[in-house]
């Protein structure tokens, strides 16, 4: 009975993915050399031969790495403060990051575009990395806070008694201790950032397009859907790798803190 449930679930989840993979190996637009419906690697070859698609992959990787780095780097001290101390306005801060986490991107897209164009951050991966902190920084803080809270306070006190100062405590003791938490935080930041489209669209007008927008640009009057699917399947690779790396810690998740 329960195996049946799992099978049904697997079917439901995998079916659209299988369809995409099949399409990615099928010639969907007839050309001089290959007839429509031929099975082969031609879609992947055309994707890898297109410089703008390779550039999109690089752009996406740059902004995601920047965004994850920013969220962890800035989120870690904040998470430590929330896990270890009470201070004036701590609950207001938690409420504030919750509100920013749930603010719909489409609400802020217009002023973000105007603001960022004044700082020259349009068409650059840096702009996307910064604006994605809006919804990823709260998630990073929640995840890291729960991991730091699980470390007993004596751990900090012992390190300080051993003569470690703030910075060396952070880098040599705390970070190795909560490494899985950093992995999980990076995973959640990744899944919300890599696939996001609203900010990615408004902030890349002429160049610096990430993967999502490069795929969007492949749709035209005569769309080579096989090639689109090949590009999409390639864009899943970093995400699947991410899932694999954090698989044993994925089940830590995060909870509402307000």
């Amino acid at each position: 009975m329960r195996h049946l449930g799992i099978l049904a679930l697997a079917g439901f989840i995998l079916l659209p993915l299988v369809q995409a993979v099949i399409l990615s190996f099928t010639a969907t637009l007839p050309t001089d050399r290959v007839a429509e419906g031929t099975i082969g690697l031609m879609n992947y070859r055309s994707v890898l031969a297109a410089p703008e698609l390779k550039a999109a992959m690089v752009n996406s990787l740059i902004y995601v790495v920047l965004n994850v780095g920013l969220c962890i780097g800035i989120g870690l001290p904040a998470a430590y403060a929330l896990a270890r101390y009470r201070f004036a306005g701590d609950r207001h801060f938690l409420l504030m990051i919750l509100v920013f986490r749930v603010t719909p991107p489409v609400v802020l897209s217009l002023p973000i575009f105007i603001l960022f164009s004044q700082f020259g951050l349009v068409n650059s991966p840096v702009g996307i990395a910064l604006v994605h902190c809006l919804f990823n920084l709260p998630v990073a803080i929640w995840v890291l806070e729960s991991f730091i809270r699980a470390v007993p306070r004596e751990f900090d006190e012992t390190a300080f008694l051993d003569g470690h100062t703030g910075a060396s405590f952070f880098f040599r003791h705390l970070i190795p201790q909560i490494a899985p938490g950093i992995g999980v935080a990076a995973f959640f930041c990744f899944i919300f950032s890599w696939v996001e489209v609203v900010f990615a669209r408004i902030l890349t007008v002429t160049g610096g397009k990430p993967v999502t927008m490069a795929i969007q640009a492949m749709f035209s009057f005569q769309t080579d859907i096989g090639m689109v699917m090949a590009m999409t399947c390639l864009s899943l690779v970093p995400g699947v790798a991410m899932i694999w790396f954090v698989r044993n810690h994925l089940a830590r998740g995060f909870t509402l803190r307000a």
């Binding site: 679930l9 369809q19 099949i22 604006v131 999409t232």
Partner: protein, 282 residues
């Protein structure tokens, strides 16, 4: 008990600065734009609350609001129980549950604009894997309103089930076996075990799932638009579609007023939710 120390502010200062820059500042700007008529950035006129009055009085707005609320209720009503069910099912598999978690997490890494393309490919009448069989039972998502709804709901569930499962599963394994043994001795039913032992453990996780899923389903745009562009006959015309049209039509003042209203609706729901959660804690 955590000690009181206001020097902790130095640690949250970077986070506060960044969120102020990409969150608070644009938010203030969008509220300000909502009170103006904007032709170009140097050609701006004060119109007061006129846009807000226009939007709130239009029937289209109320109809879209109703549709968006209904969609959120249906999405939450399907995905939250289903996600908890899958999490409980995975729990019975012990260490092998990790494979199930990885499976349901897969749709989360698909680019959002490609999710409708996956599903449209799947139900394509001639070439899709499900297309021919769906066509024979008369499934017509292009011209029958409730079929479009079913398609969008199934697609949204496919996309987000993983998040519900992962976060619900996160709360469950921490339950000490002694609790479950005690319940078994008392002869508690499966439902009673879930309702009184397991559910209270995952309320924190469910609260965040509820809020995230509410906002994302309430403000669904990319996926719903790509399926049928709000059709047929405006049957899937959600709130964001109108906002998208105004931005595309360069009516920035009106779009900003509308965005402010949407933000206020979301804020009200979040605030009510947090207030209710805090009430239960104390």
């Amino acid at each position: 008990m955590r000690p009181h120390d206001n020097r902790a502010w130095f640690l949250i200062l970077p986070a506060l600065t960044l969120l102020g820059l990409v969150g608070a500042l644009p938010l203030l700007a969008v509220i300000n734009y909502g009170f103006h008529d904007i032709f170009t950035l140097s050609d701006v006129f004060w119109v007061g609350p006129q846009w807000f009055a226009d939007i709130l009085q239009s029937d289209r707005f109320l109809a879209s609001l109703g549709r968006s609320l209904l969609f959120s209720i249906l999405a939450l009503g399907i995905q939250v129980p289903l996600g908890i069910g899958v999490a409980l099912l995975l729990l019975t598999y012990g260490r092998r549950a990790v494979w199930g978690l990885m499976l349901v997490a897969l749709p989360l890494v698909v680019p959002w604009n490609m999710i409708p393309m996956f599903w449209l490919g799947l139900i394509q009448p001639e070439t899709g894997l499900l297309g021919p069989s769906l066509a024979t039972v008369g499934f017509d998502w292009k011209f029958t309103g409730w079929h479009t709804w079913v398609l969008i709901l199934v697609m949204d569930t496919w996309h987000w089930l993983g998040l519900v499962v992962v976060l619900a599963y996160a709360g469950l394994p921490a339950i000490p076996p002694a609790y479950l043994q005690a319940a078994a001795i008392d002869g508690a039913s499966r439902w009673a075990v879930f309702r009184f032992i397991q559910l209270p453990r995952i309320t924190g996780a469910l609260a965040i799932v509820f809020l995230l899923r509410f906002v994302d389903s309430f403000m669904i745009y990319t996926e719903a638009f790509a399926i049928n562009a709000g059709g047929p006959n405006d049957a899937t015309r959600f709130l964001t579609l109108e906002l998208g049209e105004e931005i595309k039509g360069f009516s920035y003042g009106q779009a900003a007023a509308r965005a402010t209203l949407y933000f206020l609706i979301v804020l009200a729901v979040v605030w009510a939710f947090v207030a209710a959660t805090r009430e239960r804690e104390t």
